[in-house]
């Protein structure tokens, strides 16, 4: 190893050694402790499930979730690792679980799912856009969506979450085999 290489190695190690981690927010540890004691004995595995999923969907939620848990992990395409994707078969229901984290509980958020041509959400035939009001728990929230492909075109499913004046859009690429 020549001298220049050694110096670069040293520069890299110094950079890594100084690479910081933001400190926890004030009060976070105390809150986490309280929640752990509160939840610890309950072992509530289903805490990620999106609360208040909407009256139109609520009746089918349990089935969707159970179905989702039984699904195998969809194969992700290699080309665009930054955008998650699934491959689904034509005219067959396929449940995907959309998991996202919320730093705090949110009431009265609006979730809008937009579908490309040729892909439908089970239970909402012919609808390109489905909107409902929902609440998010602090932490991870799970939204199972059962998709059906009617054409082989595929496309992007968008899920837009709005709360007060803030909004975020999530996307999922869907290919049809």
């Amino acid at each position: 190893m020549n001298e220049e290489r050694v110096m670069k190695e040293q520069d890299l190690l110094e950079l890594l050694q100084d690479y910081p981690v933001p400190e926890a927010e004030a009060g976070f540890y105390d809150r986490a402790l309280v929640r752990a004691v509160h939840k610890g004995s309950r072992r509530q595995r289903n805490r990620w499930i999106l609360a208040g999923f909407g009256s139109a969907v609520a009746a089918g939620l349990a089935i969707w979730v159970v179905t989702a848990m039984l699904m195998t992990t969809p194969q992700l395409p290699e080309a665009e690792p930054s955008i998650p994707g699934v491959t689904i078969a034509m005219e067959q229901e396929h449940t995907v679980r959309l998991v996202f984290a919320s730093a705090k509980a949110l009431d009265s958020a609006t979730l809008t799912v937009s579908l490309p041509d040729g892909i439908e959400l089970a239970g909402f035939p012919g609808q390109r856009e489905i909107t409902w009001e929902t609440s998010l728990q602090e932490g991870r929230n799970l939204l199972p969506l059962t998709l059906i492909a009617l054409t082989p075109a595929g496309g992007e499913v968008l899920a837009r979450l709005e709360h007060k004046d803030r909004n975020r859009t999530f996307r999922l690429r869907v290919d049809v085999s």
């Binding site: 950079l15 926890a24 986490a32 402790l33 072992r43 992990t73 930054s82």
Partner: protein
């Protein structure tokens, strides 16, 4: 109902390790919300194992192992299906803006830019490579400690460390961070 004595014992055992655990959660997940989530999951699990926890000689190391296993079992499994934000996604340097320090603004800006580049370079590594370089070179874990934490043999860890550093050097040389 929870016995207040249990709460007291639990806090006494786990609180001294909070900073270390939070750092580990950050290194594993690379994002604040997910680090907090992982930290919280660990505490919930640990509280459920309090009877076992109080008899452990080195609860800090034990908690780190449980956290790592939680990450592997849950976080990584779901990560492949996690939706990515279009407008506020898992961007390189997420959270680093809070780190502006005592230096003058120009130095601060340069320092943050360097970290952002390092962060972006780290994200180009595989998860295994990223973790080993962060745990060893940044957090100061010994190879044997990483072996104990991850269950990966020391030889494999060394090899990953070597390749991870080489790749990082290459990326950071190309973008001028290391000259």
């Amino acid at each position: 109902m929870t016995d207040p004595r249990q709460t007291e014992v639990f806090e006494r055992v786990v609180r001294p390790h909070f900073d270390r655990l939070y750092r580990l959660a950050w290194r594993l997940t690379g994002a604040k919300a997910e680090a907090e989530d992982l930290f919280q999951e660990l505490l919930v699990k640990a509280f459920g194992m309090l009877d076992q926890l109080v008899h452990i000689e080195e609860p800090g190391s034990w908690l780190c192992r449980v956290m790592y296993n939680l990450f592997v079992d849950q976080h990584r499994r779901f990560a492949r299906q996690r939706m990515h934000l279009v407008d506020e996604g898992h961007l390189p340097g997420q959270g680093l803006a809070d780190l502006a320090g005592d230096l003058d603004p120009v130095e601060d800006r340069e320092r943050l830019e360097k970290y952002r580049r390092l962060d972006a370079a780290l994200r180009q590594l595989s998860e295994d490579h990223r973790h080993v370089v962060l745990l060893h070179d940044t957090e100061g874990y010994k190879l044997e400690e990483i072996e104990e934490l991850t269950g990966t043999p020391v030889g494999t860890i060394k090899s990953r460390l070597h390749r991870a550093r080489a790749r990082l050097r290459q990326i950071l040389e190309e973008d001028g961070t290391i000259s």
